[in-house]
Symmetry: C2
Subunit: 574 residues, 2 copies
Amino acid sequence: MRWSKQLIPTLREVPQEAEIASHQLMLRAGLIRRLGAGLYTFLPMGLRALRKVERIIREEMDRAGALEVLMPALQPAEIWERTGRLDAMADVMFRISDRQSRALVLGPTHEEIITDLAAREIASYRDLPRNFYQIQTKFRDEIRPRFGLMRAKEFIMKDAYSFDADWDATQRSYDAMYEAYARIFQRCGLRTKIVEADTGAMGGSSSHEFMVLADSGEDGIVECDGCSYAANLERAESRTNSGGVFEGADKSIDEVRTPETRTIEEVAKFFKSEPGRQIKTLIYVVDGKPVAVLCPGDREINEIKLARTLNAGAVELADDATIEEATGAPVGFAGPVGLGIPVYADIKLKGIRGAITGANKEDAHIVNVDLDRDAKVKEYADLTFAKAGDGCPRCEGGHLVEQRGVEVGHVFKLGTKYSEALGARYLDADGKEKPVIMGCYGIGVTRTLQAVIEQSHDKDGIVWPMSVAPYEVEVLAISAQDPETMRVCDEIVTEAESAGIEVLFDDRDDRPGVKFKDADLVGLPLRLSVGERSLAKGVVEIKCRETGEVEEVPVANASAVLLQRVTDLKSRLS
Amino acid sequence: MRWSKQLIPTLREVPQEAEIASHQLMLRAGLIRRLGAGLYTFLPMGLRALRKVERIIREEMDRAGALEVLMPALQPAEIWERTGRLDAMADVMFRISDRQSRALVLGPTHEEIITDLAAREIASYRDLPRNFYQIQTKFRDEIRPRFGLMRAKEFIMKDAYSFDADWDATQRSYDAMYEAYARIFQRCGLRTKIVEADTGAMGGSSSHEFMVLADSGEDGIVECDGCSYAANLERAESRTNSGGVFEGADKSIDEVRTPETRTIEEVAKFFKSEPGRQIKTLIYVVDGKPVAVLCPGDREINEIKLARTLNAGAVELADDATIEEATGAPVGFAGPVGLGIPVYADIKLKGIRGAITGANKEDAHIVNVDLDRDAKVKEYADLTFAKAGDGCPRCEGGHLVEQRGVEVGHVFKLGTKYSEALGARYLDADGKEKPVIMGCYGIGVTRTLQAVIEQSHDKDGIVWPMSVAPYEVEVLAISAQDPETMRVCDEIVTEAESAGIEVLFDDRDDRPGVKFKDADLVGLPLRLSVGERSLAKGVVEIKCRETGEVEEVPVANASAVLLQRVTDLKSRLS
């Protein structure tokens, strides 16, 4: 393909709309263009790379025995009512009605639709196991679309759904997907970290996320420096600590006047004491009633853990009026001593003595608090986020470190949540009716493409892995005005293309500097340049984008060497 | 692929929801399932065939030099406002607003979006010509979704858009697409008829439709029995006739009392005279004002032709009150004589004498009408549908015949309607700014798949062309309980698959009758059956689904012969 016949609108300037490197590069290299907030058109180069990601996914899903289907994006709202998710996912779901006033949604995911299909088409244990997948366009009304394809309103997802007769079979389906995912990302040239994750709104018993490590990632990850433990920050645990013993541990409590001293930092400064000595007291509203939630002053409450502990659908911080009513004091002076509402405490407070906390009275704190002695704690549980330096929950001696990541894949064991709600049952060998057990498995396809760039670029542009590069090789004519240069280029391009290599031929009549800069920006794995000076020596130049290595190759061998280099780079990702 | 591991839920009964053969067969052969009105899930077998249609389209579009892109389905409504189509297409367009209350639409087509892109990315004559295409999901709020994939709310379309510097180049782009389309449908095994078509809401100067002839088709087609003229009924012309001369031609008009005689049929019966002698008089409202439109009693007004003649956006039949006001008589007695509103007449009335028409008076008609003498006709024009038996507009002596068809492709020369509205301009070699000239080219991808079945089936099931069959060959084990049968099947399947043949292996432990019936229903081009009786003779049986020919082949040669047969059938569609 000649550059002059393609559409590759490269940009010199960094577009203002783009914050992170991969988003900037997708725009600058002419892969995508923005149509509206969270809406992007794929230009030819972007689409070529996307199709390669899709092909790798398809090959590995097929290899794992999954069956490809294609479900509609438009879906009757009624099916979503049956699982309760029409409300639960209302925030992100686009709703429409048609001219017959039927309520429809644009599918943000397809658990309901595939389970409804399974309910109709799967009847017997002989029809199991089955794993259906699709590569399909999803829609989510994101509150803040950003980072290009990373968080878009319309995006391509590979979603798969396994149906099994029992939990052992579900585990096998899950393992097969876990392994397929690892291969998919490896083949895309991505280094991923697999972390334990929360199942969230999806429901189910366990799940793992495939994370591409990147400072710009929206997800926090912790991993152990001593063992293989890694988890999404929402999910991560740390080794249970008991509470500290501080000065005044054996004294009885004492009230101290602390005017205008509300925040953890202000109190620490006032008492000239570390924040971890304070018992942070937050008032939450759970099922309409206030509860107090305690944690060390240097920790943050993880509301997912809190909701799970309280077995609540959602938890919400109380407003100022509720706090005043519950504690008798304005915001900033709450504490567990003498509090008349249920008190839940983070496990890291268990046994704390000599602590400081609010007095439930304006401008006053209490010191010398022994939590077990002075307050009535209903339950101790893990209620806070793990953080760097915490002990590993799995090994002795290991400590957690924090990283940022982009979630590109997610696997869930769903269990029977959807099959029960939608009647997906089968007859077992004994003729007994049972609900099928499900798993679901997602890959953000468009996001994966951008993650490749986020992980593989340098200051000059994209550094495409061979497996997903829009073309495998760029042939660059240094002067399009020199007939001999163009003749040699044409010859090499023709030979290389007949050997099955995907070639982009920069035939533009433009300055060499512009063309070399564009070559680096567009970032194809190999660049073969042809110019009068090297032709005088009878050679052309082959440069590897990743290593920067340059070799001079006799013209006659050019396409053969090129084929060898392409093959080598491919084999590293197969 | 083993049948027992696939999802092929065949049905014996004809589903009630399906009216036409292809829709019934897509359901019965387990290719699709209905999710809601006009919404279908592709099951694995349907999707495999769909992907093959897509691949053929992609190959031919690429070969024609078109560049593949992918545009969002969700689109800002604002862009549609700029061409006036937010209103013009309001009927079929799904509208949504996002959580920021931005007005969005689900794209029923993409002229606006691609032209907006071209306006940004095409700057100079050096950037031309370009032809962008996509294979993408479209949404239309059809008033009456029906016939399965033929008229769905969500469907896959291949849409392409050419951008050229002048009309000669546009003609070349148009011709290239015309030829690519002919190849695409030929490769899909479809017999299509290419007909002249109306440009309708799309605008532009000329267009052709690719029609699959089928009695169930929603489109009327006329073609000449003497030359190559063929056109969509909406567009079709016929050789201009002058009006007839009937009894009473030279007499002056006379009013006749015709109580309760309103319709063409009633009037014909009353006067014992053919309908063609009557001047049918319809009152339309055009731009808010009533006009009378005349045609012979045995013709129907073509509102597209009428709107074009009157240069009106839309024309609408008047309601009863307007008719009474305009004619002074109740509905059924309108006529051109003495009428006080503008009168337009179909060219086939030119010179009619001795005609009968309404008297603009209740229960009265006028006879002996000489239209030129007795009424004031503002303009004669072609205002009616052509019909079977009419003279061909292109050749001497040819006559038109009528057929039904399914539109699978449509090519348009658009001109500058969209480029002017959206600012897609380029600088020519002299530095002058000009609007780019566009063409657009659509293929209903999902509809094409169903059209293949509509055209290629028999009473037993689908008869897949080799090029788009879900698998190329079915290997059928007559008894899955016979180990030797299964061993031979496995061997043949393995050999055939390593030769690159796509094999569906019916390994089910089911009655042979069921399996043979399913084989015919699913309709793969070749069936190789293995049974104890034939194995005793050392042979297997290969049957061609289309011709019904059966051959016995020695087991050892089975996969080699199969490969030969597959290759032969493929070569017929390449």
